[in-house]
Symmetry: C3
Subunit: 356 residues, 3 copies
């Protein structure tokens, strides 16, 4: 009786292909969340920083940072999807489909789109597609992630293996920018970067130079703000007996730090349109200093827009290692032990050719 009231989370054998999970805890994102996000990551992208700048670009107000939206939508899936996860294996087809403004209330629904038991019979991989919607039902975020989840009972029969067909890269043909958005008067002095879409070349690498040290209070406040309940982030008493003896930092915290650092070099990347893939390649702990560098992987037009283009960027974050030499993988093809994030995503920049 005493345990029946608490949430044990789902184990691998609890997931069924096609199962729909309506997640708990709708969340109104407010100006308070935006301020905390600024305090935690130091974001300086002008569109999210000032109503005045966003109004000048045709929006109704400064939209909420795309990654804050991601973390909130993601956080809701944790109690149902990854409470018994061994590892968060990947993301795919992450698409930001509508701006979120302070006052919007978000909720998340997921569908199980793939299942594959591991050969050890103790764990399996669960693929979920999660959709975040606002209070009027508009989809603001649509993404897939897959996690390795423990079985509660190793004897439970394996489901028929089903692995979804996922795009390696999100197709820019599906990118949607707000209809009212207008970059024609984009002010590159106020935005803090003179570099338009046209100024970036495929293959170009940028060392984002700056470093940011993480404190326990910071990553825990961030992760609670997202109502992400994964125990490994919060409980030192438990983690002191874990392999590392320390609390693990939520991978999304590192993503947001890397995006914040990327301002120095990608200052006009006003929106994240999509994430193609992301790997948390090594664990991050309190006291680590995060650096980042980026490579431009591709460039694309945005449907129906002459004033904006999309850059496909790989941003790599390291711990305690400056990025002047673009650290990535070793000769063995494996990520260096200092590399903590490999994020492949699309960002939206204004075009110079249309700017007046």
């Amino acid at each position: 009786m005493t345990k029946a009231k608490t949430n044990p989370g789902n184990y691998f054998e609890d997931f069924k292909l096609g199962q729909v999970l309506r997640h708990a805890t709708p969340r109104t994102i407010t100006e308070g969340d935006v301020s905390l996000y600024t305090a935690l990551y130091g974001g300086r992208f002008a569109m999210q920083s000032a109503d005045s700048f966003a109004l000048d670009c045709g929006l109704e107000a400064a939209p909420v940072d795309d990654l804050l939206v991601f973390h909130v939508v993601f956080g809701k899936t944790v109690p149902d999807v990854s409470l018994n996860a061994v590892a968060n294996l990947g993301y795919a087809n992450v698409r930001f489909l509508a701006p979120v403004y302070p006052g919007d209330s978000l909720q998340t629904v997921s569908e199980v789109i793939g299942l594959k038991e591991n050969s050890n019979g103790k764990t399996g991989v669960v693929y979920v597609r999660s959709i975040g919607t606002n209070q009027v039902g508009e989809v603001v975020l649509d993404y897939v992630r897959w996690v390795m989840v423990r079985k509660a009972d190793a004897a439970a029969p394996a489901p028929e293996a089903a692995v979804p067909d996922l795009p390696a890269v999100v197709d820019p043909a599906g990118f949607v920018l707000p209809a009212s958005l207008d970059f024609r008067d984009f002010d590159t002095v106020l935005s803090g970067s003179p570099h338009f879409f046209e100024d970036y070349e495929v293959g170009e690498k940028i060392d984002h130079v700056d470093g940011m040290t993480i404190e326990e209070a910071e990553h825990m406040m961030a992760t609670r703000l997202y109502q992400n309940t994964a125990k490994v982030h919060f409980n030192q008493h438990m983690m002191q007996n874990d392999r590392f003896g320390k609390r693990l930092i939520y991978g999304g915290h590192v993503i947001s730090l890397a995006r914040g650092l990327s301002f120095n070099g990608l200052g006009n990347a006003q929106f994240v349109a999509a994430v193609n893939a992301g790997s948390h390649t090594n664990p991050t702990f309190s006291g680590d200093t995060i650096y980042a560098w980026s490579e431009v992987l591709d460039k694309a037009d945005v449907p129906g827009r002459e004033d904006a283009g999309a850059l496909r960027v790989r941003t790599v974050a390291t711990k305690n290692l400056p990025c002047v030499e673009f650290p990535f993988k070793g000769e063995d093809g494996k990520y260096l032990s200092d590399v903590v994030l490999d994020l492949d995503y699309w960002v939206i920049l204004p075009k110079a050719t249309i700017a007046v």
Copy 2:
């Protein structure tokens, strides 16, 4: 002259029975405070998390967490009541009487309702009833606490002892829920718990499972947010020479952590209606990991409501000790040294029998 401008606080002999203390620093509670509260405690009670959920339950918006209201109303009393306190001895008859919404401005008035000098002649116990009101004068919180306060002058004569008659338990007959509140469509998927009022039994114990480690930055930010000025929480230079050598954590911080943890097992406890009694049984320090468990002590109807019931709950918080065995008191009847909080309170849950 140089010290005359600062507030020395009141000493035991400064308090008079019947004395009314209008406390300083009215405080507008905003969405920013709500976000910080979420970041500090990770609350997931749906009513306070999303405007959309609160609207579906008939409220005008997501109300401010009851305990945030408590901390703000309480904080105002510190400079006048407990700046020279030796110990915060207890709470009684704490009643939440109206919801607070972001934008409401709170202030606090206290009345001295009891005085009793201790036999050592150096300290005495002061009982105050404090009332928090909003900007239109509505009472949002009414409670009694008693503290042991130093005498400035041991030779000051003892007042006639007067100890107020306080209820051991707040009578549910006085509970007031917002008139517009309507639990009939309460969505237990979104709320994150399938358990209605009827699903809890008197005597039932719940281990809330999760643990949360406290950092210095967190408890200090929380306590400053409440404008609570007790020096022991903020000044390491002073506290290094104290008995413990460390800053003490505001007891209310532990209450909020315990309430946050209690979501896992009491997820539909949408409001705190009243606190019957509360004891901070051992000190808590930065680095401690807080766990909690609860016992259902009683159940009651709420006047005029068919859709809601009240659970009387004891929530016990521990430091660095999981609660699977419900740690509480030793054979000597004293609290275990790991037990830091014993809180006896009433929470409001939707009833299943009326839900459609």
Copy 3:
């Protein structure tokens, strides 16, 4: 190519007398920022704490703390003015000219008003006048600071030396209070201090008594909130090899802590009207406990106001040293090593003689 996209900052030889620098990243200040500011410094000045109190004084809402405005306006100048600075040497003629309310969007423009190369040929002093404006172009803050900046090329020719003529003290004749402000019903119980303008004497010294210990997470969150990008505050991996081996705390963080502490003795100092001069006399690090004391240097009327007066105050902050003996300078005329701030500024208090 790889470094061309990042901001190298300006070196001494890049600055030209009369040069105008429009700074990046407009910033909407919100209720979220106000809450964080309260959580970081524990401010209790009633005007900034409650809409209800500000309304009673004739304002439309609680204005944003003047120093929060300062930090935000200042932060914008860092990437252009002080990214390659060796030291922040001083402030002068800092004038707060219009209240800022949550929702206002601020931006900053600076003019180079002085240049003087140092005799070592490696650095020079740059004087900038910076003006912060809101979304309708009103000037909210106008100030001068000067910084020592490195030369990129020691062989670059020295500019003609030009040192601006700066007032040692801001003239109260230029103070502007909001037209609607009315202190006639000023409530000294709610404000938390019974002391009006008339109660302070020139030469009076006040020990603000309380101490506040700084944590890494706190000063980094503060400094990011202000979008201040100076590397020395955030990057432990880099700073471990620096002279002190530790992150330096933004001097403005100490100013805000000192102002917060000064409530205990200057509780009715409702606004900062101007800063005459400010020196960060020694570095501050995480773990330091800040104390403060103040001396009244002068008193002045405010043009056109019978209900308010201006106190010129010197507030001195120390680290790990209580201020009961008003620590300041040694016999050699130099600041004691425990003194971290010497701030000379004007604050506005209600007058008693007009209060009803």
